[in-house]
Symmetry: C2
Subunit: 254 residues, 2 copies
């Protein structure tokens, strides 16, 4: 990592990055990909900013962003070093996106879907208990749009998102909402998960319909069950191009 490539977009919110955001993203990806190891010392502010041909201000703001996400720690006289893995905010949307930016790690992907299964199936269960008729109406409409267009169209994908967003809102739990929507946002913007250049492997509408019905029936047990199945199907349908050469990298720290 030497010269700075500024063009990069591809952050969860998909809005253009400023200079500090670009630098943070570059270093963040370098850390998540193992290019920098925990404990490694970043070169000093002056040297780094000169190498990247940016001002110290911009570089420092990038470091603050990384520190806010638990990836680095700065101390006078010592410098800025990559934090231990336990301190990384693995579920921060940016960190999540950066982790899957380069080489898709199948093990890591499985762990992520393991958590998704746990949380989102529980969310479906809660939604079944707490949903209002308004939630139900919105979900039905989203489902109809999802069927009319398909996931091949932008409108269809938007309907899919609306379905899941409404389901989350029905849980009435801001922590579950934040966690899940953050993971989904990162997943949706990562090229690894995009299936544009091949036929969709399965019609997702029937599976979503089953989730909808259990929530309509206020049946938390089956809502959890069918949502879990939906997650598993999503995992199966996720294309993984190549396995990582260093599986289970997150275990190293111990």
């Amino acid at each position: 990592m030497n010269k700075l490539v500024r063009l990069g977009r591809s952050n969860p919110a998909s809005k253009v990055l400023r200079l500090h955001g670009t630098i943070a993203r570059d270093i963040g990806i370098a850390i998540m990909s193992g290019n920098y190891q925990p404990g490694d010392l970043l070169t000093g502010e002056i040297a780094s900013s000169e190498r990247l041909e940016v001002s110290r201000t911009a570089y420092r703001e990038a470091v603050r962003i990384l520190a806010a996400k638990g990836l680095v720690e700065s101390k006078p006289k010592v410098g800025t070093k990559v934090s231990a893995r336990e301190k990384w905010h693995m579920l921060d949307p940016d960190v999540l996106a950066w982790a899957f930016e380069n080489e898709p790690d199948l093990e890591l992907l499985n762990r992520l879907f393991e958590l998704r299964d746990i949380v989102e199936s529980a969310a479906a269960s809660l939604a079944a208990l707490r949903r209002t008729d308004t939630h139900l109406k919105t979900m039905r409409q989203a489902l109809e749009r999802m069927a009319r267009f398909t996931l091949a169209t932008e409108a269809g994908r938007q309907a899919d998102q609306d379905f899941h967003t409404t389901l989350l809102q029905a849980t009435d739990n801001p922590y579950i909402m934040s966690l899940t929507s953050g993971v989904n946002a990162a997943v949706n913007t990562t090229t690894m998960f995009k299936q544009r250049h091949r036929p969709l492997p399965r019609d997702p509408v029937p599976d979503h319909m089953r989730v909808f019905e259990t929530i309509a029936d206020k049946d938390p047990v089956n809502a959890q069950k069918v949502m879990s199945e939906l997650i598993q199907l999503a995992l199966q349908d996720t294309p993984v191009r190549n396995r990582s050469k260093k599986p289970r990298a997150w275990r190293k720290a111990n």
Copy 2:
């Protein structure tokens, strides 16, 4: 919020805050407490830094930290405004700590423990399946220290943390580890959850022992069950001084 009070520590990592960290914390608390509402425009950089009597540099770095946690968004010509609640990183350790810094919101606390219940009981289940003998040994030792000292002593609390940390490591899932340890870190450093000035309401050792036994037995079903009970007890034992005047604040956004 006008003058800057710099003395504050009390962040998850309990290390002294620099100026930018202090500013970020102050504004972060103001946002989480509802002092600033989503959509509100922060005063410009020049005005803000003058009011706080700090340099624009320090103020800007604080804003970058807040933006990295999804609390604010900056745009030229518009300014920096508080983001919509859906964009907040509710599970970021700092955000979590800031949210409970001021007035304990019982509803919000229940939602947090709802998620803890879901994730940590599932974690216990996974730990029961994946724990090694080394994990088991470490947990047993922590349990013994926990019994010898009590939670009234620092050594006892450390043993408690070690127990839970090892359990998490046994899940072998970095996302679950990150999520849970982040929540626990925030919870542990928040005064609201500290029970120093009163007798401990219950001997926690037997409950922890039951968790340990199910994991030792590689019994995921009962591990989940007894861990869930442990979480519920922790919630019951959490002192809530005063209910919030504005319950369910996170629903406003919809």
